[in-house]
Each structure stands twice: as structure tokens, then as C-alpha cells.
């Protein structure tokens, strides 16, 4: 059964769009992460794994409260911890790290597999894993380093914004469980309205640099953030000005249509890929790629 609300689909040109009749009444949604209200409790992280039936391996202490060490195929939401000294004070800053659900998703653009990545009318960027071939283009294209490839089934995984919950009218699991109200969920319009109000409150409380993180380079994000110092998103492990890489744009806008037009020969694709995005994914130490097969081969 099709949801018939797909506004974008990977590996697909405008000549053959997805069924999208049911988008007329759909409002764009957004998750708001207010870092100034987060105390790093990890409820969102655990609720995400619980709802999605994910159980990462139990790791070990890595010199930080952050566990697991990074997002993984079995950890789609991760709290990050940063000790930052600024304005003569210590700040222990926490980042709710999960898919940003970009309005203009680099992952979707980079994906060559038809329909493996879709964007619903409400803005959710979702992976249709049965189609995923595990090529890792999405992982290397993502400016936020979110998708992760599972070496077991060779599929890409990330936060779905609990599309199975939002589809029945519920909020995402992380948002529901948030203990301090640092996470909120609603229409994108409402979230931006609230965020502006909240930033004004924060300025009144002395957070003069508080601001909204909704970067334009990816067309705005479906996870909007309020940061203590909007001039220093790096202190939250967020890129200052995330962009879709030129290579990904090139892939999407120039090269992929060729597929529809004449179906380029495999060798050609391979060559172009090598020139454009290829080098971004062939490094095995890339966090996006865990290739156990390859490790087997090299032994």
C-alpha cells in the first residue's frame, strides 16, 4: 500500500514522480530541540531504541557520559556531551543528535536507488530499507553524519521521526518522553513560532546570543534547534553552515537524470562516481561505513 504522500523520492526524476495525491491537507511537521532546556538525561535516546526495538551492543566506558560512542545502525538517537568554557562560566552542553529531516535532504539527493529514500509531505525523510542497497552514498552525503550502514544486512538506518507514530497521530517517541520539555513536536510553523518566542525569553534571561538553528544550506531542517550561542554551533557538535556538497548536487541534478534518459553503462557510473562522491565513502574509517565483509576479505 502506498502512502501516496511522497513529495520526493531518491533515484527518481520528475518524469516519474511518486504517487503524491494525498498531500493537499498535510502540514509540515518539525521537532524542536531546545538545548537550553536539556539536561542530557538520555530519555530520548533510550525511548528511541525502545520504540524502534533497537538494542546496540553494550559498550564500554570511553572517557565520557556519551554512550554509545556514536550513532549506529542500532542507535538512531544519541545524546552528545560537551564541556565548554564561555563567558567566564562552564557550560555542560548536550546535543540531541538524530536525523535533522532536512527540507532539502542531501541523503535523498545522493541516493541512486529508486525510492530507497523518500520525503513525505509532512517533511519526514524516511528510508525504505527493502530497497536500500547499502551503498553508503547517503551517509557520506549527509552534512550531519547521521545515516549508518549496518554491515549485517547492508542497509542504511537512521531516525524516522517515528513515522509509524506520526502516521497515527502520535508524537515521536523521543519527544513524548522528554523530561524537561526540551523536545517539542508540532507543525513546522508552530515550532518556529514557539522557537522565536523562546529565544526572546532567553535573551531576557541574559542569553544574549541565543538563537534558532535551522540552517539554510539544507533548506531548513525538520529538527529545529535552539542553541545558547547561535554563533557557535560547533560547541554543540553541529556544523556552522551545513551545505549539500557540490558533488551531491552534481550527482542529483546532472548525472542522475542521465539514468532516466539513456541508462548509463555501469562502468561510466563507476567512473563518474569515483570522480565525484566516490572518495567520500571508500575510506573505511568513515563513521558511516562499517564493512565486516570487507574485514573478512582482508584477513
Amino acid at each position: 500500500m502506498a502512502t501516496q504522500d511522497i513529495i520526493r523520492r531518491s533515484g527518481t526524476s520528475e518524469a516519474t514522480p511518486a504517487a503524491q495525491a494525498r498531500v493537499g491537507g498535510v502540514k509540515q511537521v518539525a521537532k524542536l530541540f531546545d538545548a537550553t532546556k536539556c539536561n542530557g538525561c538520555k530519555a530520548c535516546q533510550v525511548a528511541c531504541s525502545e520504540w524502534n526495538d533497537l538494542r546496540e551492543e553494550v559498550g564500554s566506558f570511553q572517557g565520557t557520559y556519551q554512550n554509545p560512542a556514536s550513532l549506529s545502525p542500532e542507535c538512531w538517537t544519541l545524546m552528545k556531551y560537551n564541556e565548554v568554557e564561555a563567558d567566564g562560566k562552564l557550560h555542560w552542553q548536550f546535543t540531541h543528535s538524530a536525523c535533522m529531516h532536512c527540507a532539502d535532504p542531501a541523503c535523498l539527493k545522493a541516493c541512486s536507488t529508486s525510492g530507497a529514500i523518500v520525503q513525505h509531505a509532512n517533511g519526514t525523510v524516511d528510508f525504505d530499507s527493502d530497497k536500500c542497497v547499502g551503498c553508503g552514498y547517503c551517509a557520506s552525503a549527509c552534512p550531519f553524519d547521521i545515516p549508518k550502514i549496518n554491515p549485517v544486512d547492508n542497509k542504511a538506518y537512521k531516525c524516522t521521526l517515528c513515522s509509524d507514530r506520526t502516521a497515527v497521530g502520535l508524537e515521536p517517541s523521543c519527544v513524548k518522553t522528554c523530561t524537561t520539555g526540551a523536545l517539542r513536536f508540532g507543525t513546522r510553523e508552530d515550532m518556529l513560532f514557539y522557537a522565536e518566542k523562546r529565544v526572546a525569553e532567553l535573551k531576557d534571561r541574559g542569553f544574549t546570543n541565543a538563537g534558532i538553528y535551522n540552517p539554510e544550506g539544507v533548506g531548513g531542517t525538520g529538527m529545529v534547534m535552539i542553541l545558547r550561542d547561535i554563533n557557535d554551533p560547533e560547541s554543540y557538535d553541529m556544523p556552522k553552515d551545513p551545505q549539500i556538497k557540490v558533488s551531491t548536487e552534481l550527482w542529483q541534478d546532472v548525472l542522475k537524470p542521465l539514468g532516466t534518459a539513456g541508462i548509463l553503462a555501469t562502468a561510466g557510473v563507476a567512473l563518474l562516481h569515483r570522480i565525484t562522491v566516490g572518495r567520500n565513502i571508500v575510506e573505511e574509517d568513515q563513521p558511516g561505513y562499517r564493512d565486516e565483509d570487507h574485514e573478512e576479505d582482508s584477513k
Binding site: G40, G63, T180, G181
Partner: protein
């Protein structure tokens, strides 16, 4: 909590000190962020570590662990010296104006009446001057030199900013900010709440820590108010209920007392615990003690409790001293105990001085463990190199491990910190053959009843008499037990609707007088689910049942002045209006009376007022005083070097030899919970283990550099009592403090170390801690002790 979780949103200033609500009570902490965002509240965090609560604080002030009393007495001095006191409240609702006996005194760290030999006080002088009618003398002008106000002023005079900073290590600039924030709530339109937990109780003067804060709240007029109060953030889900159930060495349900051997008859006991009013016209609610007590005896012994046998009073065991678990472990260690039943507690890892506990348990003839998870306590006899080194074959203890249901598999009530009795339902059957705790104790009791009936034996009467007339004696239902807790008329079987219906003549039975009203003739009041908040102040009278009598804010009479007018019209709980009392909460006073005739708000006290001077209730003295932790990193008390730590500590034999000095163990150390874990339970939960797989020791960057320790290095932490290996977390969140001319480094170790779980095998921090504790309660000093740390060979 005098107040409740939602009420925190009404606060103007929130002080988290002696607790770490963001970490240990995250959802409750959500109401702090609510107050900050919607009530423009300021959050102040005072803690040895910059913790998760501090991460959102407007201001964080570091403090050396174990110096909270000095910190707070300095606050009191500041409030008094700057006149930032709610004087109307203090004059009317505290004992500030009461005259104290002339022979009460304080000198060089000791109050009057100290007996050096017994390490205890004769408390005779710690009392009011009484008039001929037995009422306390007062001077409402506060001018009399012997009134509490002037004695308090004199007592705190020593705690100026420099002295406080020199003891606590809190920089003066930080201290000033905290003092100003707290003081800002002395006005009638501002209120502060203090949120505390084990960070205050786990000290050798835990009760006094809390009491000092309560004094601050009284001076500011913050008790009985929306957004104020004295708010203990209870630990476990049903600590409140367990305490209400009197599961303590000297208690019975409802805070009535297990009799002492000095009270041979019921009349003796009732006389000793039924107070006479200390001021005219006071409610003196404990005057009803006999009704509560006799009704409890009826619940215990049923038809065997008769006026002729003092309602079975003789069968109640009488104590000669406090047998808390710390004491009993010490007795086990000495071979004086044969059996122990451990119910839902990982005792071996939770109790201090683990190596001693291991020997103690090994001395038992039998150990019965009731638990729903496999804990290290039940397997204490299993050798685990490094973590639990024992000679299994030589341990002659018979051990039983009995599986219990968990919350999801049973129905019943638990009581949250806000005193809400909430009813829960069963969602699934327990795994395997697990049974509820009530079914297991019934099973053992039925066996004992059978044995005593068959064989006779020592004092079989109470075993026979104990009232177990439940439908299924082997498995009493939660409903039956709950109705018994509420209380009923023994002749008609009618459930009482209030504790005012309880009688001292044996015509009513009640398992816990405070719970009266929770299961009435109208049915179960604890599963009510109307979450409507008609006033918008967070009072939801239709949700569950808050003891006593569904009251949400205790002492709420104090929200009004003596004429019944609220101090702040935006904070009205009750109000005298048009000749009657109205309000949004159940009045905590006799609402039939005109305010002019009505008694003072603190109805459980025989004088009706809050006590700035505690009389004889605490062992250390009627005023708090700064004493160092038993193991002090400065080795002296800057205020009175001859009295370094609490003079009334309980020293078990030989324990003095297990106390370290700063020369040998130069660093302060504290222990705590992480938000990802709940004691040891969650070490058995995969999701929790993933989110925090291993424990560690936190230390500051300077100390780490001095010791050549890098983040993530394996280190050895040792105390006089043992050592552990763990990994270092080097952080900016801990910092060295300047104390009494030296630098004090503090280390911190989470308490979740377990070698038998889904988390990485880890040592228990309680290998390091000392069993020395609070003289009033026996609660150990888990939060302040001395260690050394070295990089370990991998």
C-alpha cells in the same frame, strides 16, 4: 515533601542542594524547567560536582562535601544581619519568641550537658522555660536575651562569609550570589523551594543538614506556601510508603513508635508519646496517639487484642537500642546473628564497607533473599576474583533465593514523594514461579503458625494471634490489605472515612492511620484519575489520594497571616472570607474555627509553631553546628579544633581503626547515582546498560595532571577499608577548592558498580565507604570520605 512535584512550578527560586534532581528525579526536575520558563524562576545548584542539575542552573556554586551546615548557617546569618526575614511569619509561626532555659549553652563546639564518657548529651537544658501551667514562656518583642531569636543570632554570628568560604571552599563571590537569591524570597510575594535527597542524608550529620534548611525556610516564611516547603526527593518509588509502613528499627506504621523496654505497659507507652500542649489552645494533633495506637494493635492482633490484655501490647517487641541494618550487620560480623531476610535489596553492594559485609553475611546460618533480579547479595558465596573474593567451601550459610513479582505483575499502591497514594494494575503474569512479597511472607508465616501449633515453642501466642484472616491466608489480596490499611469498624466492618473516626477502645482497627480515607465505603480513592487542576496551581484533588486526607500542601494554614489573609493573593491556598474558610486544598487545620481563635499552623507540634530551636529531638543539639565528616580532608574543624566531628557518633567496636587520615588518604570522595541507572536494578536492563555501560571515577584536571592520569586510564582508588579499580573520567566539572589554607580535591564515583549484570563488570564503590553515620538515624556517610588514587598497571 510538604508540597508535591507539580507545585515546584510555583517557586520563584529553586535551590538544589544535597540532591541532584536532574539526575536522580528527571521528570520531577521537569517542573523546575517549567518554573524557570513560565514563572521566571531562578535555579541555584550547590554541589561538589557540576552535575546535570547544574547544567541548567542560573548559578552553580561548588561546595566541599560535608559542609552544608556551615553553608546554610552562613545564609541564616546573612538573612538576619541584612533583615531579609519574613518577620510577621517568624513571630507568629515559629518559636523565635520562646524563652529557652537559662542553663542551655553552647561553647567550643559543644552544647550544654555533654557527657564525655558516654559521648552523649544530657538534654535537660535543651528546653523552653515553662510557666506555672506548663506552657512555654514567650516574648513577642523578641528582645529577651533568652528568646530563641537572640540565641540563634548569637549562634550563627561566627558564620561570616570568610569563615563559611574557608570551611566550604565555596568562593565568596559565588556564595554572595546564592545568599542574595535565597534572601530575595523573604518578601511576601516570593517563595523558594529546596530540593534535596541522599546528598543531605548520607552524612554523619544528615538530619541536621535538613534541619538547617528547614530553619532557612521558616525565616523566609516559605513553609506552607505554594512553591515552597521542605521537599525531600525520596529515592525509591515507595520509600515514602515503606517509611509510612514503619519498616524501620524503632517504628510502626503511621510514625507511631515501636515500644522501648522503658515502656513496659500500654499506659506507659501512651503516656510517653502523647504530648501535652506547650501553648494554650493548640491543636497538638498527636494528642490522638492512643486512638491510632490501639487501632493499630487491633489490626495486628485482631480478636486477640482485648482491653484485658492491653490489646496485645506485650507481644510487640521492645527495643533497648536501635537495631538498624548497619547495627545488625555489625552484629553479624561479630557472629551474634544467625538469620537474615533480605527483601528486594542488594545489601552487599548497597551497604558501606563491603569487605566487612562479606564477612558478616558469611557468618550467618541462613540467608533468605527475596528479589526479582539476580543480585550479588544472594550469590555472596560465589568467588569472583577481584570483585568478591571468598572461600566458598568454608561458607556454611544456607541461602534461599526466592523470586518475586515486579511492579508490572501485581496490583497495589505506592506513595510518591508528594505523598500521593497511587494504585497500579497488573499487566502480565510473573515469570516462572515468582510470587508477590506478601504471598511469600504469608507462606513462611503459615509454616511457622503450623509448626507452633504442632510443636509449641517459645512464646507461641503472637504467632497464633497475628491477624491473618484474609480470604486466602497464603496469598492475601492487595485489596484486602489496602482496606486494612485504611481502617474499619471492627463491629460493623464499615471502612472509616477519616482518622478522626479511629478510637482508642478497640472498636476500630487501622493498619496505618495516615492512610485513613484511602479506601472508604466509597471505594478505592487511590485509583482516581481526574487530572483536572481547577485553580491552575497544580493541585489536582481528583487524582489519586494524597495522605493525610487528600491534602496536597502540608501546613497550608501558614500560607495566610494570623487573620487568615494570604500572604500573597496569587498564592492563595486557603483564605478566611466572608466568615468562613475557602480554598483550593484540604485545610491542614480546624476549618471550623475563626482565624482569631484558630491554632497555629504546625499542628503536629505541641506548641503549634515551627522550631528554630529543636528542643531535645536531635542528638547533636537544638541548633545545627558545623562538624567535619568522620574522614575530613582538612583533619580539623576551623571553628573548634577540639571538636572536629559530631561528638555523639555511634562507634562500633574496632571501627576507629578503619578510619583513614588525610596524610594517608589525601582526597575527598563522594558517591552518587547516574540518571541512566537505578541502583543495581537497571544494571540488569539492556537498554540502561547500553546507555551507561560502566562505572568510573570523576576527577578534576589539575589532580589528574599531578597524578599523571589521563581520561580513560585505569586507576586504583583506595580507602582505609579497601580498594577498587576503575577508569578515570577527567573533567572540568570538578574543580579543586581552597579550604583552610589547603587545596582539596574531590573525586566522585557512581554507585552502580556490579559484577553480575549486563553492564561491564565493575567494583562497588562501597568497598571504599565507611559504616560511620548519622547518630540519629544510622544512615552511613556515603557522601564524604577519604581516598587515594593512583594510575593502575593495565
Amino acid at each position: 515533601m510538604t508540597n508535591h512535584w507539580i507545585d515546584i512550578k510555583n517557586a520563584n527560586v529553586v535551590i538544589i542542594m544535597g540532591g541532584n534532581a536532574a539526575e536522580a528525579h528527571p521528570v520531577g526536575f521537569g517542573w523546575v524547567t517549567e518554573a524557570m520558563q513560565h514563572n521566571n524562576a531562578k535555579l541555584i545548584v550547590v554541589d561538589p560536582r557540576f552535575n546535570r542539575s547544574a547544567s541548567l542552573a542560573d548559578h552553580y556554586a561548588p561546595i566541599r562535601s560535608g559542609t552544608d551546615i556551615a553553608f546554610l548557617l552562613g545564609v541564616i546569618r546573612y538573612l538576619i544581619s541584612t533583615n531579609q526575614v519574613n518577620f510577621d511569619y517568624v513571630k507568629a509561626y515559629t518559636n523565635a519568641s520562646y524563652l529557652v532555659r537559662d542553663d542551655f549553652d553552647f561553647h567550643e563546639g559543644l552544647f550544654s550537658g555533654f557527657d564525655e564518657e558516654k559521648s552523649d548529651y544530657n538534654k535537660e537544658s535543651w528546653f523552653y522555660q515553662l510557666d506555672d501551667d506548663g506552657y512555654a514562656k514567650v516574648d513577642e518583642t523578641l528582645e529577651h536575651p533568652r528568646c530563641v531569636w537572640n540565641l540563634l543570632k548569637q549562634h550563627v554570628e561566627r558564620y561570616d562569609f570568610d569563615t563559611v568560604s574557608n570551611i566550604t571552599g565555596t568562593p565568596v563571590a559565588d556564595y554572595q550570589i546564592v545568599c542574595d537569591a535565597i534572601a530575595s524570597t523573604h518578601t511576601k510575594d516570593r517563595v523558594a523551594t529546596f530540593m534535596y535527597a541522599l546528598g543531605w542524608t548520607h552524612h554523619s550529620k544528615g538530619a541536621q543538614n535538613i534541619r538547617t534548611m528547614a530553619m532557612v525556610q521558616l525565616l523566609l516564611g516559605n513553609i506552607g506556601q505554594l512553591g515552597g516547603g521542605v521537599n525531600a526527593l525520596r529515592g525509591h518509588a515507595n520509600v515514602q510508603g515503606a517509611t509510612d509502613m514503619g519498616l524501620l528499627a524503632q517504628s510502626l506504621p503511621g510514625y507511631v513508635k515501636l515500644p522501648s523496654e522503658k515502656e513496659p505497659t500500654l499506659a506507659d507507652h501512651l503516656a510517653a508519646h502523647t504530648p501535652k500542649p506547650l501553648r494554650p489552645g493548640q491543636t497538638n494533633y498527636w494528642k490522638n496517639y492512643p486512638s491510632f495506637y490501639v487501632s493499630l494493635l487491633k489490626a495486628f492482633w485482631g480478636k486477640y487484642a482485648t482491653p484485658e490484655n492491653d490489646f496485645g501490647y506485650d507481644w510487640m517487641p521492645k527495643w533497648d537500642q536501635m537495631y538498624d541494618f548497619g547495627k545488625h550487620l555489625d552484629m553479624m560480623y561479630r557472629g551474634e546473628v544467625n538469620g537474615c531476610i533480605v527483601q528486594g535489596v542488594n545489601a552487599i553492594n548497597s551497604m558501606p564497607n563491603r569487605n566487612k559485609n562479606l564477612k558478616a553475611l558469611s557468618n550467618l546460618k541462613y540467608l533468605v533473599v527475596l528479589d526479582n533480579l539476580s543480585s550479588e547479595t544472594a550469590t555472596f558465596w560465589q568467588n569472583e576474583p577481584g570483585f568478591n573474593e571468598v572461600d566458598t567451601a568454608s561458607i556454611q550459610t544456607e541461602v534461599f533465593r526466592l523470586p518475586t513479582t515486579c511492579f508490572a505483575e501485581e496490583e497495589g499502591s505506592i506513595v510518591n514523594s508528594g505523598r500521593w497514594m497511587q494504585w497500579h494494575y497488573k499487566g502480565a503474569n510473573a515469570p516462572g514461579e515468582a510470587m508477590a512479597d506478601s504471598e511469600i511472607v504469608s507462606g513462611i508465616l503459615m509454616e511457622l503458625k503450623k509448626l507452633y501449633a504442632e510443636e509449641g515453642g517459645r512464646l507461641p501466642e503472637p504467632v497464633k494471634a497475628v491477624n491473618w484472616e484474609y480470604t486466602d491466608k497464603h496469598n492475601p489480596s492487595s485489596i484486602e490489605l489496602s482496606k486494612e490499611l485504611n481502617g474499619y469498624d471492627v463491629n460493623t466492618g464499615r471502612q472509616v472515612s477519616s482518622f478522626s473516626e479511629l478510637k482508642a477502645d478497640g472498636s476500630t482497627a487501622c493498619g496505618c492511620w495516615l492512610y485513613a480515607g484511602s479506601w472508604t465505603e466509597q471505594g478505592n480513592q487511590m485509583d482516581r484519575r481526574d487530572n483536572h487542576d481547577p485553580s491552575g496551581k497544580g493541585i489536582t484533588p481528583g487524582w489519586a489520594f494524597a495522605w493525610p486526607m487528600n491534602r496536597r500542601v502540608l501546613y497550608n494554614r501558614a500560607s495566610c497571616d494570623v487573620n487568615g489573609k494570604p500572604w500573597d493573593s496569587n498564592r492563595t491556598i486557603v483564605e478566611w472570607k466572608g466568615g468562613k474558610w475557602e480554598g483550593i486544598d484540604v485545610p491542614d487545620f480546624n476549618a471550623k474555627l475563626n482565624p482569631k481563635d484558630s491554632a497555629h499552623p504546625f499542628i503536629m507540634q505541641p506548641e503549634g509553631v515551627g522550631r528554630l530551636f529543636a528542643l531535645k529531638l536531635l542528638k547533636e543539639g537544638p541548633f545545627p553546628e558545623h562538624y567535619e565528616p568522620v574522614e575530613s580532608p582538612i583533619g580539623t574543624n576551623p571553628l573548634h579544633p577540639k571538636v572536629v566531628h559530631s561528638p555523639v557518633l555511634r562507634w562500633f567496636e574496632g571501627v576507629k581503626d578503619t578510619i583513614g587520615t588525610k596524610e594517608e588518604f589525601p582526597y575527598a570522595c563522594t558517591t552518587y547515582s547516574l540518571t541512566e541507572h537505578f541502583n543495581f536494578w537497571t544494571t540488569h536492563c539492556r537498554l540502561a546498560a547500553i546507555s551507561m555501560p560502566e562505572t568510573f571515577v570523576e576527577m578534576n584536571e589539575q589532580l589528574a595532571a599531578e597524578k599523571g592520569i589521563k581520561n580513560g586510564d585505569l586507576v586504583k582508588v583506595s580507602s582505609k577499608r579497601g580498594h577498587i579499580f576503575t577508569k578515570a573520567l577527567v573533567t572540568k566539572r570538578l574543580r579543586p577548592l581552597q579550604v583552610n589554607g589547603q587545596t582539596v580535591h574531590t573525586l566522585g564515583i557512581p554507585r552502580h558498580g556490579s559484577h553480575n549484570a549486563l553492564t561491564k563488570k565493575a567494583y562497588s564503590c562501597n568497598v571504599l565507604t565507611t559504616e560511620m553515620g548519622d547518630a540519629n538515624t544510622g544512615v552511613p556517610e556515603y557522601k564524604a570520605f577519604l581516598v587515594n588514587v593512583e594510575k593502575a598497571e593495565v
